[in-house]
């Protein structure tokens, strides 16, 4: 048993928090009469639901990750490497559908939002606990339908996750079932958003004013509005695809008077705001982690709050920048390009606030902080390359190339993905009451980051040189970049698997029990035992005047 001294100190129990004998939520089912597996499957407890989401989403994440790796291995060499062109088309569609609808959209709100939003608000549960359970079942049902569509009626679609008409109407693959799965998953995400908004308004501790809400919860609140605003648009769009498949009305078919561009408008009216559904909660996680390990109040609390809402509003008005080459008036291109540049401002405000929080701070390095720092870097690269795509001129050059793929993965994987890893490491001790090994966590983070750079940076260059995305084969001048990307992909994959293994190892027999407040955090979840009791708070929570006031938090055990 060779624990590093540093790690041991994080496990020391914080004497300021009375460790009463209150049983944790693992020992107290809700409703109380449920036992065994039913205590999970029929639970109303937001914490149990958060954990049920965690395992389901991790399952899909590993599947999506593996398919992504296989795609890159296929592209390692010219010609066929491991799969046929038809399988390749289904593989990148499957990768996209799983990662978008089953992983990135729900990951942070459904897992950490469910678990921590009520706690950060100083309350005992979300407003509609039963609706919350229904959302989980809708999520599972949607996932099940996606699996079913793999093996029925023509196999998984080969359309790409965007389901663009007319191909999605014409292809023999099983589009309707997959699209219906996405429809169900959209409902699940919408209901979660509805639940969060109502919870923030009605169940917030009476002592907590709007400017006393922690930033993670603020970001979830902004996200929830986007979910409600935008998701119904994708619902109707996907329904229309199904209707077209069955009735052939021709609403998007030029031969029958329809307009395929309209489909793209409807699709992106949802799917662009959806990328803010994906990134905003990640930004919220970073806004919690940076001040905690800087031992310093966050810089620009209000600016971060308003930029979250700003992103939610401005992000809903930029959808047509995905369609600069689809056919649009120059005026429209100009307006959407301008709005796209404007939406970069609130994101930049956040990045500046995080960096300013680190400035002259008493920084304490931990795995969650390392992931958060990597997030800031990768997300900045992703955001800045987004401006290249948002500018109408360069976009025509790099449209539909690997440049887009790299940009998207820098923001969604380097952004939301790494924020998810940061959140896992930050809240793991609170959710499970156990601490993981730091050394392996650092190694995994480094491996994943280095792999990430080797994986996606070559794609920027390939894209600038003109290699199209979603293409099965490539010209000889692209082989060096694709070879590098494959090696990077393998490193990235191993880093993430190592990270997951390390987290799982924290459950083994000689586990390290985590303290109630191992990091010296100051939001409400750190004032209660790890893991939390059923009703979260054993006594009335003390709401701080300012949520990031570290003055009464003892120095972290490490420095004493």
């Amino acid at each position: 048993m060779a624990f590093s001294p540093q790690k041991k100190s994080f496990a020391i129990k914080d004497p300021t928090i009375s460790m009463t004998t209150t049983p944790s939520f693992y020992e107290t089912p809700s409703p109380p009469e449920l036992v065994g597996i039913k205590a999970w499957l029929l639970t109303h407890d937001h914490k149990r639901l958060g954990l049920m989401y965690l395992w389901a989403i991790l399952f899909w994440f590993v599947i999506g990750l593996t398919i992504g790796l296989l795609i890159r291995v296929e592209l390692m060499t010219i010609g066929r490497t491991i799969m046929s062109a038809a399988v390749y088309n289904s593989a990148f569609t499957l990768h996209g559908v799983i990662m978008i609808f089953l992983f990135v959209i729900p990951v942070i709100p459904a897992i950490f939002g469910n678990f921590f939003l009520p706690i950060q608000l100083g309350t005992d549960d979300v407003f509609f606990p039963r609706l919350n359970l229904l959302s989980w079942y809708l999520y599972m049902f949607g996932g099940l339908l996606a699996i079913l569509s793999l093996f029925t009626a023509g196999g998984f679609p080969d359309t790409g996750w965007t389901f663009y008409v007319p191909f999605s109407i014409g292809t023999k693959h099983n589009v309707p079932l997959t699209v219906f799965a996405a429809f169900i998953l959209g409902m699940s995400s919408m209901l979660t958003g509805l639940n969060f908004i109502t919870t923030v308004h009605r169940k917030r501790s009476p002592a907590m004013g709007w400017m006393q809400i922690p930033l993670f919860t603020w970001s979830l609140y902004a996200t929830a509005w986007v979910q409600l605003l935008a998701t119904p648009v994708i619902s109707i769009t996907l329904l229309l695809v199904i209707i077209e498949r069955f009735f052939n009305i021709g609403l998007f078919d030029p031969d029958k008077g329809g307009d395929p561009i309209l489909y793209q408008h409807l699709f992106w009216m949802y799917s662009h705001p959806a990328v803010y559904v994906m990134i905003l909660p990640g930004m919220g996680v970073i806004s919690e982690i940076i001040p905690t390990f800087s031992r310093k109040a966050i810089f620009g609390y209000r600016a971060i709050v308003f930029s979250s809402m700003g992103i939610a509003i401005a992000g809903s008005l930029v959808w047509a920048h995905h369609m600069f080459v689809s056919g649009m008036s120059d005026t429209a291109v100009f307006v959407f390009s301008l709005l796209t540049f404007l939406v970069a401002i609130p994101s930049a405000i956040k990045v500046f606030s995080w960096v300013s929080t680190l400035y002259k701070a008493s920084i304490e390095m931990t795995p969650p902080l390392l992931y958060a720092l990597v997030f800031i870097y990768l997300f900045s690269v992703g955001g800045l390359t987004g401006l290249v795509l948002g500018a109408a001129g360069p976009d025509i050059h790099v449209h539909d190339t690997h440049f887009v793929v790299a940009h998207f993965h820098f923001t969604m994987f380097g952004g939301t993905g790494f924020a998810f890893f940061a959140a896992l490491h930050y809240w793991w001790p609170k959710m499970f009451g156990v601490m993981y090994d730091f050394r392996r966590a650092y190694i995994a983070a480094t491996l994943a980051t280095v792999g990430f750079m080797f994986h996606y940076v070559p794609m920027f260059i390939l894209g600038l040189k003109g290699m199209p995305r979603r293409s099965y084969d490539f010209l000889p001048q692209f082989s060096q970049g694709n070879g590098l990307a494959a090696v990077g992909g393998i490193l990235l994959f191993s880093g993430i698997i190592l990270m997951l293994i390390n987290l799982m190892l924290s459950f083994r027999k000689n586990r390290i029990i985590a303290a109630a407040n191992p990091w010296g955090g100051c939001t409400l979840e750190w004032t209660i035992p790890s893991p939390p009791p059923l009703h979260n708070f054993t006594k009335e929570p003390h709401i701080k005047e300012y949520p990031y006031d570290f003055s009464d938090i003892p120095d972290s055990p490490q420095k004493t």
């Binding site: 809700s30 109303h44 005992d124 549960d125 407003f127 509609f128 606990p129 609706l131 919408m190 509805l194 639940n195 908004i197 109502t198 308004h201 009605r202 169940k203 409600l228 605003l229 998701t231 119904p232 648009v233 619902s235 109707i236 769009t237 329904l239 229309l240 209707i243 009735f247 052939n248 009305i249 021709g250 609403l251 029958k256 008077g257 329809g258 307009d259 309209l262 408008h265 409807l266 009216m269 009703h535």
Partner: protein, 198 residues
């Protein structure tokens, strides 16, 4: 753990949900707006082919049913269970009459070879195909919402009957009523868009 005493909260949740329903139809109205701009003449001609009499009748039926639903909520608040049941049954009946009318309307059109992908529509002018395509999609989706609304009304009826909905707790009835108003409201927009185009 229970939030059931907070009626305002429950109402907020319901209003948010209704909002998502409006956006759902909003997507279809966007399609309508664009195609109306592209094919104004065909849309106008298509509108004249629809039976305005049945359309107006259905509008009146839905307005009456909205009124009876609202009255049923007032009735339960004043603890007159019988009146509430009667009003709910009347609303349910209105919904059923609406659907029967719709059935005859659709049947009539289908008999004239006007249905999705029918030879008349695919061979005819593009605007006509789009007009009737949208007509079937929008009124079909609206009809589905009428059925959902009737299910909710039926459920409320049962709960009032079993005294699960009382003068003190009537959130389900109130929310079913709100949903029914939404169904009515959407029809108020659908009706002029299809039946009353100049």
């Amino acid at each position: 753990m229970e939030s059931q005493h907070d009626h305002t909260g429950i109402r907020i949740g319901m209003w948010l949900f209704l909002y998502t329903e409006i956006i759902l139809f909003g997507g279809l109205f966007v399609l309508y707006a664009v195609y109306f701009h592209n094919y104004p003449r065909e849309f106008s001609a298509g509108g004249k082919e629809l039976n305005r009499l049945i359309g107006s009748f259905n509008t009146i039926i839905l307005l009456v049913s909205s009124c009876t639903v609202a009255a049923s909520i007032t009735a339960i608040r004043q603890a007159s269970k019988k009146l509430c049941l009667l009003l709910l049954a009347a609303s349910f009946l209105c919904g059923a009459i609406f659907l029967v009318n719709k059935y005859f309307e659709w049947g009539h059109k289908i008999a004239h070879d006007i249905y999705p992908n029918s030879p008349t529509l695919t061979g005819g002018p593009h605007g006509k195909n789009i007009f009737f395509g949208l007509y079937y999609v929008i009124t079909g989706l609206h009809g589905l919402h009428v059925i959902i609304g009737m299910t909710l009304l039926g459920l409320s009826f049962l709960f009032v009957f079993n005294d699960k909905i009382t003068a003190r707790s009537f959130a389900l009835l109130e929310n079913s009523g709100l949903y029914w108003h939404l169904v009515d409201l959407i029809w108020i927009f659908v009706f002029p868009l299809f039946y009353l185009i100049l």
